[in-house]
């Protein structure tokens, strides 16, 4: 076991919601008085976690709560979690932008943090001047920047424009230059927030390559936040999973990503009768409930890229003898219909016992499986229909009734990490042979 580079102990960070400070001089005084006597801050309620969905009882939200972990020197560690899980707060505390409310962080070595690309760039200054300024802001001495100057310019690919004010740079050049400065910092620990979201695919690849070099080649410790699971699984051997400001796991990356998908907390995978917004009602049948299920974890709206998406339609048939045909459309976020499907024998891969069978009055459930390894890592929506046989005008329609997200797990991205085009990403048969 090597040396520990970062040791986090009982780290907590509270934020106050809404208005604070001003206008509440009496509260300020009350707090000061309590703290003076060595008591706990009366306005910090203990025990509340940070869940945006449920309204809390106090104005205080714990963005981080009792976090404990150690990071070994030379490790590349990913930080995974949903929006609001506390990832950025953790990085802010580690990079000393803000102080923790409780607990402590002990750090061995110099920290360089990249929470934003190009912090402190001045548009009027030239590329050369900005390299020095930005490098100094990130904690480098002038002679260190001089030493790496050529490497920075080379990495950014802006030799021709180095004495041009950066306000004339294209946004791509700007970002490349900014990342280049940060990537060449002489620090033992590099903290990187979601900065690679900017820039094109080629640049992202270059940055990831550089970061891999930094952690593997130079033995520096890297802490990396991203929503791009592919990047994390490629770069980081270990990962931290945060949820509601609490540490869920610190383990090998693939285990953590798996857990992240399994603990999908967005439980909107189901809508019930009263919540279904029906665009058009039918006299023959009506929706009772619509659900999205994963084979492994039941109702959810988050699916791993290799997981089946099971769509369930529960509906009531109002009269004996009605023939009702359920159908769905899958849409992308731009409302383009990707496909339409129903249970006709020639249009489905399974046989539906009730296809074109006159139904008794009662409740029925139809299920459609969208296979794993088929959709891309995007957001999708579903429109649902109940079509009475021979009476198309009388169908029930529910638009955008369900939405779900397909999450990249890295399973299909062992060889390619750039942006993956297309609304679907099927696994297809590929062969190459020599013909000449």
């Amino acid at each position: 076991m090597g040396d520990i580079a970062i040791k986090v102990e009982n780290l907590s960070k509270a934020y106050q919601l809404g208005d604070f400070g001003t206008g509440t001089l009496s509260r300020d005084i009350e707090r000061k008085w309590a703290l003076l006597r060595g008591k706990e801050d009366p306005f910090l309620t203990v025990g509340e976690t940070n869940d945006r969905a449920t309204a809390g009882t106090s104005d205080i939200v714990w963005s981080l709560k009792d976090i404990n972990f150690d990071i070994q020197k030379g490790d590349a560690v990913g930080v995974i979690g949903r929006n609001g899980a506390g990832k950025s707060t953790l990085l802010k505390v580690l990079s000393r932008v803000t102080v923790p409310t409780r607990g402590s962080v002990k750090i061995m070595g110099r920290v360089a943090s990249l929470l934003e690309v190009g912090t402190g760039f001045h548009p009027e200054l030239t590329g050369r001047e900005n390299i020095f300024l930005n490098g100094a802001i990130l904690g480098m001495r002038k002679h260190e920047i001089k030493k790496h100057f050529d490497a920075i310019v080379d990495f950014a690919g802006v030799e021709r424009y180095i004495d041009t004010p950066v306000k004339r740079y294209s946004s791509g050049m700007y970002v490349r230059l900014a990342f280049a400065v940060a990537a060449h910092l002489e620090s033992e620990i590099l903290i990187v927030d979601e900065v690679l979201a900017v820039g094109d695919a080629e640049f992202q690849k270059k940055c990831l390559g550089k970061m891999g070099e930094v952690s593997k080649g130079e033995g520096r410790t890297v802490l990396f936040v991203s929503h791009n699971m592919a990047a994390i699984s490629n770069l980081c051997s270990k990962s931290i999973l945060l949820k509601h400001g609490q540490l869920q796991t610190l383990d090998f990356t693939h285990t953590v990503i798996d857990k992240y998908i399994r603990t999908g907390e967005n439980s909107d995978g189901q809508v019930n009768k009263d919540d279904i917004i029906v665009k058009q009602h039918s006299t023959k049948a009506g929706f009772h409930a619509l659900r999205l299920l994963s084979p492994a974890k039941g109702i959810t709206a988050d699916f791993g890229i290799n997981e089946d998406v099971i769509v369930e339609i529960e509906y009531d048939v109002y009269h004996d003898g009605a023939i009702v045909q359920p159908s769905i459309h899958l849409l992308d976020t731009l409302d383009t219909v990707i496909f339409a499907t129903f249970s006709a024998p020639s249009a489905s891969s399974t046989v539906d016992q009730f296809y074109k069978v006159p139904l008794q009055k009662g409740r029925y459930k139809s299920t459609c499986v969208i296979p794993g390894n088929y959709l891309n890592d995007k957001n999708y929506k579903i429109n649902a229909f109940l079509v009475p046989e021979g009476d198309m005008a009388n169908m029930a329609i529910a638009e955008n009734v369900l939405a779900f997200t397909v999450i990249e797990t890295g399973n299909m991205r062992k060889e390619y990490t750039g942006e993956w085009w297309g609304v679907v990403r099927p696994k297809l048969a590929w062969q190459t042979e020599q013909v000449l």
Partner: protein
């Protein structure tokens, strides 16, 4: 994870804790970032003249016009005495010294607001920013001081070779002139100290920001900038003397022109006040700096 007992007693380079000693001012950290300080000063200077047509000429235009207006209004119309110092010299001495102090203070007093974005994204000793403001202003002051020297030597020669043209006005530099660098340093730390206090308070109580611009105008009249202390009536003199800038401006003008006199009590009071306010400013700034990011 298992904690290796051999590393549990390891020495750490940095410990991030919620509370820190009030008196830990992280001055060593500031020293480590000294290169940044110079680069920021350079940035301010370069970006200033790059964006303007006249460039550094602006540094001259402001004191020249202020001096002309003051000479006309206060010397010509209001006929406020200048202790037998040529009017232009008298007002220019007051103006450039006062401007340096006022610029340091007003610019420092918005340092948290102006840099909220950068402070929220990267750590460096926050004190670097206000320090860079003081040094940037020192560059500006230096340029204006050159202008002052031209005017000073012009009147000095006139006084020696054609005193009749001065209508009894005198220019008699004396040994107190040597205090000049000390005076500038004191003005800088006074402006910085007050600015730090104000910027720390404005993160919580925004109204203070509005008071500053307005307050500085009023404060100029409570400082012997356009009049010598000797002209102020006995009734108000204690109030004017309570202003730490009084001792500094009076001494500055006395050293170069010999107008007025050296008030030892005022000067010593100014020195003490400067250091007390500066230290207070550092302490408050350091306390607020740590988590102000959460409140903006």
């Amino acid at each position: 994870m298992v904690i290796d007992p051999s590393t549990s007693n390891q020495e750490w380079d940095l410990e991030i804790k919620p509370h820190d000693s009030v008196l830990n001012l992280h001055l060593k950290d500031v020293w480590n970032y000294r290169d940044l300080l110079w680069l920021l000063v350079r940035r301010d200077f370069v970006s200033f003249y790059k964006q303007t047509v006249l460039g550094p000429l602006w540094f001259f235009i402001q004191p020249i016009f202020t001096t002309i207006v003051f000479t006309f209004v206060f010397g010509g119309l209001a006929k406020i005495g200048t202790s037998h110092v040529p009017h232009a010299l008298f007002y220019m001495a007051g103006t450039i010294a006062w401007n340096y102090f006022a610029d340091c203070l007003t610019k420092t007093s918005t340092v948290f607001k102006d840099n909220a974005n950068i402070f929220g994204k990267v750590y460096f000793p926050r004190l670097i920013m206000p320090l860079s403001i003081v040094f940037s202003n020192l560059v500006k002051f230096g340029v204006q001081f050159l202008l002052f020297l031209i005017v000073f030597f012009y009147f000095l020669f006139k006084y020696h070779y054609a005193p009749a043209e001065l209508n009894g006005d005198k220019v008699e530099p004396n040994l107190f002139l040597l205090l000049f660098p000390v005076l500038i340093a004191l003005m800088a730390i006074l402006g910085l100290g007050l600015g730090l206090i104000i910027t720390a308070l404005t993160t919580k109580y925004r109204d203070l920001a509005f008071v500053v611009t307005f307050g500085m105008q009023l404060m100029m009249y409570a400082t012997p900038v356009i009049y010598p202390l000797s002209e102020a009536s006995e009734k108000y003199r204690p109030f004017i003397k309570a202003n730490p800038m009084t001792g500094l401006i009076e001494t500055f003008r006395y050293g170069f022109t010999g107008g007025g006199q050296f008030y030892l009590d005022s000067f010593l009071y100014s020195v003490v006040a400067c250091f007390v306010l500066f230290f207070l400013g550092l302490v408050i700034f350091n306390k607020v700096e740590k988590d102000f990011v959460d409140t903006v």
